[in-house]
């Protein structure tokens, strides 16, 4: 294990509705690397990601962050993780800025100004608009804006490009590249084919595990 190994899983298992989705899952992720989890529907991609965030308990095995089990690290691990799952995780009755301020309060605020963040995801004009009146794609961009508003090393993204158009997708793809270049980590699943040339990308295929 090299010193830049940040995320490691050992013997990870997952059981859902009496079915063993995967077992003895092992991988190692270093700074600046991305892991793309692939597989057919229902093979446990979302479950794996939720296990990595700690929202779901693994059925066997452990997850190590910088060598320590994440259940022991608790808050210290969570402050380094940003998660965007199926739900956007934004309040419809609040404005974009209010939502981002809350995200920063829950985690570690990044050095960027919130106006800058909104600018980067093309939501600058909607800073004070209630999220409820935004389109699905705009809400998704706000959810992903969380990644820029907080300072987290590990991004765990479940189908981040849902509802996004091609321009937004390539915009976020380059954001992911930047994150990796700054020694961040990404674990994601996506139906879309995103190519990040020149980056360290591992692929993990589920659904073929015993």
């Amino acid at each position: 294990m090299s010193t830049s190994t940040l995320l490691e899983t050992r013997d990870l298992g997952c059981i859902r509705n009496d079915r063993q989705l995967f077992a003895n899952l092992e991988f190692v992720l270093e700074a600046g690397e991305m892991l793309v989890v692939e597989g057919p529907n229902g093979c446990g991609k979302t479950s794996l990601l939720r296990i990595l965030t700690g929202l779901r308990l693994a059925d066997g095995g452990e997850i190590l962050w910088r060598g320590d089990p994440i259940d022991r690290l608790a808050g210290d691990y969570y402050e380094q993780v940003a998660y965007v799952g199926h739900h956007d995780g934004v309040k419809h009755e609040l404005s974009c800025l209010e939502n981002l301020r809350l995200a920063r309060a829950m985690g570690v605020p990044s050095k960027r100004e919130l106006d800058e963040v909104l600018e980067q995801v093309n939501l600058y004009a909607y800073g004070e608009t209630e999220v409820g009146s935004l389109s699905a794609g705009q809400k998704r961009r706000l959810a992903l804006a969380r990644l820029l508003a907080t300072d987290s090393k590990l991004w765990i993204l479940d189908e981040p490009f849902t509802s996004l158009d091609k321009t937004s997708m390539s915009m976020f793809a380059s954001l992911f590249e930047q994150h990796l270049e700054q020694q961040g980590l990404i674990v994601m699943t996506s139906h879309h084919d995103i190519s990040l040339p020149g980056q360290n990308v591992q692929h993990l295929l589920l659904g073929t595990q015993a």
């Binding site: 059981i15 859902r16 509705n17 009496d18 063993q20 308990l57 059925d59």
Partner: protein, 241 residues
């Protein structure tokens, strides 16, 4: 010692051991039950105040004790589930719930039957009965919550939390109801609380309590084995049976 505990916690091992014990437990239960009933119904003299009808305490009091004891067992299992995620604890908890609920119901029913010859009504807002009624709701809550959650591992954690919350509340509820009862019912002494403890009455009472304890273990083993088969049906050891 730790190894024995660890072995006991393993489902296939427990399944086998429980299976071997069941016939023995059945016999022990029957003997204790007969001894207790004989002592209570035939040997013990009639109470000087209540005559023959007091004899229902030989079922009522042990039932009430069991209803409380089983809840505490469930709470202990709850703690074990939350800290160690032990599968057997999950099975014991959910198997105990209906048994505990039945004892609670039995306590209520026998209390009710006792009330009729005593006070002419089937229900009395006595402190003990009211507490038992609330305890019944707590049991039904655990059974209901477990049923409502599909993933049984998640369901076990939910009822573990509920059992622990309940066990903290039971003394509080009991004290509150006692207090409430003393306010509203005045100084009426109910024979529920303190039967005259004469040896000829105490012995059958203890025998019945022991019989109920054995019954609990017996019923628990049976239910646990069924539950284990259900939960582990995809595992190797079940297939080998």
């Amino acid at each position: 010692m730790y190894l024995w505990f660890h072995k006991l916690g393993s489902p296939p091992h427990f399944y086998r051991i429980a299976g071997k014990w069941i016939p023995w437990l059945s016999w022990i239960f029957l003997m204790l039950l007969l001894a207790g009933l004989y002592g209570g119904l035939i040997e013990a003299p009639p109470d000087y105040q209540q005559g023959e009808s007091y004899r229902i305490i030989f079922v009522h009091v042990p039932s009430a004790w069991m209803s409380l004891f089983i809840y505490i067992v469930m709470a202990v299992c709850g703690g074990i589930i939350i800290v160690w995620h032990m599968k057997l604890a999950e099975v014991v908890l959910i198997s105990s719930a209906p048994i505990g609920a039945s004892f609670t119901f039995l306590a209520l029913a026998t209390g009710s039957l006792w009330g009729k010859p005593m006070w002419g009504t089937y229900w009395v807002w006595d402190a003990r009965l009211t507490s038992e009624l609330i305890l019944l709701f707590l049991y039904l809550g655990i059974i209901g919550l477990h049923n409502a959650i599909d993933d049984k591992r998640v369901a076990s954690r939910a009822v573990a939390i509920l059992a622990l919350v309940g066990v903290v509340n039971i003394p509080i509820i009991h004290y509150s109801v006692e207090w409430w009862h003393s306010l509203h019912q005045g100084p009426t002494v109910t024979k529920f609380d303190k039967p005259s403890i004469h040896w000829s009455m105490l012995l059958p009472l203890l025998l019945m309590a022991l019989a109920f304890q054995v019954y609990y273990v017996l019923a628990l083993f049976q239910k646990c084995r069924v539950e284990l088969l259900q939960r582990e049906r995809n595992s190797k050891w079940v297939e080998e049976l």
